[in-house]
Symmetry: C2
Subunit: 272 residues, 2 copies
């Protein structure tokens, strides 16, 4: 069965990256994807790809022609990226992507923002304790989660650039009618499980929950939205109710299923 929206032409920027490849692989039969990346696609990526730099508006404009929606992932991703790279790829690049959408009449942008736009909340209790795995005295769900209305508190140039991207998206949405979903994505990795940090038991976003959130943000009605991209983790501290109410986000995975009984080392999940 093909769902509504399945004929949408969707351009993915940063299509050769981990999230781009994950989304295209999972939703490749649902949408008519094209890619845009500074790196040529690897052999298994079966979508037509424009090799161009988002920092160059003229170079990327043609790729936006006739596109219904854009999934904007292109960015310098390591959250300690140096400012010159963040400036070029995240600030200038994101401005250019929104401007290209406006110029070419694209209707919707799903923008990969980041939890690092609000990363400094992790300096405060109880988030500080949770990311350290110090759960004593805490109950899952027994504290205020961070929702889409909290002021931004970036934890680096990277987080600042994502706050910039959200502000840009809001402007383009309100001034030009673009529908914009900003996804404050948590921890997505190649292993597709919490790995290397106890923080991930709070922040993990599984590939299939990521894919579901992108899918629903592409096809459900929305205006300007900020959603947290996080699985249904027992120790999550980011709100998922706004995404649930707005686009029906219904995450299936819980990082806790990867936790062994007495240590924070990941093990095989209990469930599916």
């Amino acid at each position: 069965m093909r769902l509504p929206g399945s004929d949408m032409r969707v351009l993915v920027t940063g299509s050769s990256g981990l999230i781009g490849r994950t989304v295209i692989a999972a939703l490749g039969k649902t949408y008519r994807f094209a890619g845009l990346d500074v790196a040529a696609p690897s052999g298994d990526l079966a979508v037509p790809t424009t090799v161009a730099d988002v920092a160059n508006l003229e170079a990327i404009l043609p790729a936006f022609k006739g596109v219904d929606a854009v999934v904007h992932l292109a960015a310098s991703v390591p959250f300690r990226s140096p400012w010159p790279e963040v400036l070029k790829n995240n600030v200038i690049g994101t401005h250019n992507v929104f401007e290209a959408c406006r110029a070419q009449g694209v209707k919707r942008v799903v923008f990969a923002s980041s939890n690092h736009a609000v990363g400094m909340y992790e300096q405060d209790s109880p988030y500080r304790e949770i990311v350290a795995g110090a759960y004593e005295g805490l109950e899952p769900g027994g504290f205020a989660v961070l929702d889409h209305t909290v002021p931004v508190r970036p934890d680096g140039d990277y987080g600042v650039s994502k706050a910039f991207g959200e502000a840009t998206g809001r402007y383009y949405s309100e001034a030009f009618g673009l529908e914009v979903a900003c996804l404050r994505i948590g921890t997505v990795n190649r292993h597709d499980r919490p790995a290397r940090s106890v923080r991930h038991f709070a922040t993990w976003l599984s590939h299939r929950d990521l894919t579901q959130l992108v899918d629903r943000s592409l096809r459900r009605p929305l205006g300007f939205e900020v959603f947290y991209g996080v699985s249904r983790n027992r120790w999550r501290f980011w709100d998922i109710s706004h995404a649930a109410e707005t686009v029906g986000y219904d995450p299936q995975d819980d990082a806790e299923d990867w936790r062994s009984g007495t240590s924070s080392a990941p093990r095989q999940p209990r469930g599916g």
Copy 2:
């Protein structure tokens, strides 16, 4: 009488502009000012000025040495400035100013943000009616004002750049201990009165109220703050209580004193 803080060395970026000249003229006996501007100072500006471009970090770094506080005004100011200018002067320039402060150990930044970071609220009632002078059915103070916690809603690239500057300031404050006051400045003009737009009866900031807000933001204790720079206007719709409580902002002027009885054309003020 010299007030506490009067020996502070204060660097003003954009010192040759309207606000820079106004602040330096009014507070020149209170602080030890220096200037930084792309334009050489005019003859009446009696402070030592570095002629350099904030877009060039290396060029501006020396001017920050030994400075206690920075009043960061340098920017492309017209709110319809084209993106390339906004990018260079407001985005890159503001990043560089915060970075120069960090590198040189400056303790505090008073950053000229703008009401345009939240300008899109003026699309909504009752602000829409107030900026049009359609006061029927409205009571001054009888509606919610915009405070420092509302999400940003920029009304252009300029407003986006100011939201970026605020996010940058928050990051530098939380990561490096810089004290940062972001002033969402309303309408400041050469005439020092509401002029040319009925909107100004809500948004006007008199020179002496501007000066007082900058002065108190330079010397009173603060962390990371967002203050609205607006006079005590009858029809203001921006909060002044947070600035009052935090730094004792006590504006003296009311745009209404410039209004004639039956038209929106400014007249001589009733009071002082």
